[in-house]
């Protein structure tokens, strides 16, 4: 496949891996402890497992799978709100595919569908708007979910609905923003991260400037990375080079897609339709200030939260779940008390088991099993 296979070239990967090994040998901290690099984005987590990248890296590098899976970090209370809307008889509830499996306190959208709710999978919010045009007698609600990557497309759909005067379309807005979340992770006291792979798709919208504080104030290197396996390897190599040279910069590996200044029409649409919430609840991470957006008052008629009274309940994460510690890289997925026991992809307790981009689900399905066993052996030996 053109423009794809070039980024999966095995021989180029081997050259990079060799150089990564050389760099690691030259980095002092690697003698004491593993170098921890967090990939913020769930898309990266998926690629890392899909191509077996972790196993190609020297043991001295530890990849920490960050909070960037929007499906995973959605709290149970919001899923319950979403079900309350979806179960109304006049509503056709539209959603991206993998959000259908996220468990609420009672059930998931997939189960609600089986129980009779009209839940439909769409591939774009514009498909939901088309449904609204076709079904003037029904209320079409789109489950707005995702970081800045998907935010513009929802905003543009709302603007299109406004232009066309479509009254039976609304968005249940759960969009979240990445920067406050990275800041919350950096402020966490139990953190050891040495560098970040920055989210490629988010950055295509917001550019690279919003990350400057990471380098300047927190003194951590970040490389905005693409999603093909060579992109990821090269970005890891770039982070390591910064660590070795004692530099902390925001570098852009994904320059073929990510403009430094971002995408201004997309940002304008987002600014027109949304405003920051004071705080937003994240599964596993708790409440984070200014980490979510809601629809501005001018667009209230397209806001499902205002249109339908939702219970707006807050439900604490299950106590046994250690999603938060996994998200921050304090523990590895398999070190969680319920991993693979009470919490599996079939019956996910914690958010990270839900989507294939979630760290736990990725470990469970794509392996890391070898590392898991290494770890068990080490622990058994220590005891």
């Amino acid at each position: 496949m053109k423009y794809v296979d070039e980024y999966r070239d095995r021989s180029k990967a081997q050259i990079l891996v060799k150089d990564i090994e050389r760099l690691v040998r030259e980095i002092k901290i690697a003698e004491r402890r593993p170098i921890q690099i967090m990939e913020v984005c769930g898309g990266h987590t998926h690629s890392i497992f899909r191509y077996g990248i972790e196993g190609m890296l020297p043991k001295a590098i530890e990849l920490v799978h960050g909070p960037g899976c929007p499906v995973c970090v959605l709290p149970m209370g919001r899923v319950d709100d979403c079900l309350a809307i979806a179960e109304r008889p006049e509503v056709i509830f539209t959603t991206f595919g993998d959000a259908m499996r996220v468990p609420g306190s009672r059930k998931s959208l997939l189960q609600a569908k089986a129980d009779g709710a009209d839940v439909r999978m769409v591939y774009s919010p514009m498909d939901a708007l088309a449904l609204a045009r076709k079904n003037p007698g029904r209320e079409i609600v789109f489950f707005g979910i995702g970081f800045e990557t998907t935010m513009p497309s929802t905003a543009l759909t709302v603007l299109a609905a406004e232009r066309e005067g479509i009254g039976n379309f609304s968005v249940f807005c759960n969009h979240i923003t990445i920067v406050p979340t990275i800041k919350a992770i950096l402020d966490s006291p139990d953190l050891h991260l040495d560098g970040f792979l920055g989210p490629g798709h988010v950055s295509m919208v917001i550019g690279t400037a919003p990350y400057e504080f990471i380098a300047r104030f927190y003194k951590k290197p970040m490389v905005v990375a693409g999603f093909e396996p060579l992109d990821i390897l090269q970005s890891i190599w770039m982070v390591l080079r910064q660590i070795k040279d004692n530099r902390c910069e925001i570098e852009n590996q994904y320059a073929r897609i990510v403009p430094e200044a971002g995408n201004s029409p997309a940002l304008q649409a987002v600014g027109r339709v949304y405003e920051l919430r004071e705080f937003f609840e994240w599964r596993g991470l708790g409440s984070i200030d200014h980490s979510g957006v809601r629809m501005r008052a001018e667009y209230a008629r397209f806001d499902a939260e205002r249109k339908f009274a939702v219970p707006n309940v807050r439900i604490a994460d299950p106590k046994s779940c250690q999603c938060g510690e996994v998200l921050k890289g304090v523990i590895k997925p398999w070190q969680c008390k319920v991993f693979g026991g009470a919490c599996t992809p079939e019956t996910p307790l914690g958010a990270l088991m839900v989507s294939s981009e979630g760290a736990c689900s990725a470990y469970y399905q794509y392996g890391g099993v070898k590392r898991q066993r290494d770890e068990v052996t080490i622990e058994a030996g220590a005891a």
């Binding site: 496949m1 998926h46 191509y51 972790e54 190609m56 396996p229 399905q365 794509y366 392996g367």
Partner: protein, 355 residues
């Protein structure tokens, strides 16, 4: 030209209305006319013709074909009913023929039970019946008994078909997943994931135009070719729902072995790869309807491969992996990129990823 009158046969009924109604399932003349005009007309064979409650098969003749009877059933509820490369009728025959064939059986007889939603056009029903008949002829199998039900609107999605098949297994053939041994090779007869991608594309939900057609085909001939070339073949399965990944996991579990496949040897059409890239799907889990996965001892694998490649349904056959003595039940893949990952059983349905 004189037409010879069929005086010794019951005159065949005719349907004179454009759509199927509940009357066609009522057991009276309307139903008889529908069966005559649509099914009997298409399936026409002496075992079916009397339209008794059962087809009566000659045991002695069956006994000459083998020493065991293979018996299987499958229901078909595909949406859409017609898709590039086939339709529900072709699928209903191929599916059951293939379930017989991969057990090493020669497929012989088929039953056909159809549940029809009222309002389906008679012409469409006729088209499906003719498609079944044509596929049955291609597979050398006869549809010898059947049933028709008509249900209220929305009680079924236009049409469901259940086919049950009988075949005979020769005494010298013994296939089973548990027989896989370390060192055996894993073969497939061609490009993977076409059917799954074709169906998803044909649903039209995602505004993706794809030239991908279903691989739906009867595989009895290919299986016979394979077994002639590699009589020590351990096991054959058609990787339908759940795809190749699921079948590999079942084999690894049943034989308590590990299986390793190599992504670079896994034949997948460029269009299917692209389709999966866009939707965030994994082609290893997509359904196939014209593919077999075979476990063959290493010493016969080259002959097996060449025999498959010489068959019209096996041009793109490939050795995709190997059975190993490693951790029982574990399936792994060497990725194109040089890494290694686990290929696990799918938990539910594959859902497209958000971004």
């Amino acid at each position: 030209m004189n037409v010879v009158p069929l005086i010794h046969r019951r005159p065949r009924g005719k349907v004179h209305v454009p759509t199927v109604t509940l009357a066609h399932g009522g057991g009276g003349k309307a139903m008889k006319d529908l069966i005559d005009d649509v099914f009997l007309e298409a399936f026409d064979n002496p075992l079916l013709a009397p339209l008794d409650d059962q087809a009566r098969l000659d045991l002695a003749a069956l006994g000459r074909r083998g020493d065991r009877l293979a018996f299987t059933t499958d229901s078909f509820v595909v949406d859409p009913l017609v898709f590039p490369g086939g339709d529900i009728g072709k699928l209903a025959v191929c599916g059951t023929v293939n379930d017989l064939a991969v057990g090493g059986a020669v497929p012989l007889y088929l039953s056909c039970a159809v549940i029809i939603e009222e309002g389906v056009s008679v012409d469409f029903l006729r088209r499906i019946a003719r498609s079944m008949a044509a596929t049955a002829r291609e597979a050398g199998i006869e549809i010898v008994t059947g049933d028709t039900k008509v249900v209220n609107k929305a009680a079924c999605d236009k049409m469901f078909i259940t086919t049950t098949g009988i075949g005979a297994i020769r005494a010298d053939i013994d296939l089973g997943a548990h027989r896989a041994r370390p060192g055996d090779l894993v073969l497939v007869n061609g490009l993977l994931g076409d059917h799954g991608a074709a169906i998803l594309g044909a649903r039209g939900d995602m505004a993706l135009e794809t030239p991908i057609a279903s691989d739906c085909a009867p595989l009895h001939g290919l299986v016979a070719t394979l077994l002639a070339a590699a009589p020590a073949t351990r096991f054959i399965r058609d990787p339908t729902r759940g795809g190749v990944a699921t079948v590999l996991n079942e084999i690894a579990e049943a034989a308590q072995v590990a299986i390793e496949i190599d992504e670079t040897c896994t034949p997948i059409r460029e269009e299917v790869r692209g389709f999966c890239e866009i939707l965030g799907l994994d082609p290893l889990y997509l359904a196939n309807e014209g593919k077999i996965l075979a476990i063959v001892p290493a010493e016969q694998s080259q002959r097996a491969l060449e025999a498959m490649q010489a068959h019209p349904l096996g041009h793109a056959a490939s050795i995709i992996g190997r059975v190993r003595a490693g951790e029982p039940g574990r399936v792994t893949m060497h990725t194109v990129f040089g890494g290694q990952r686990i290929v696990d059983t799918l938990v539910g349905e594959q859902l497209p990823r958000i971004c």
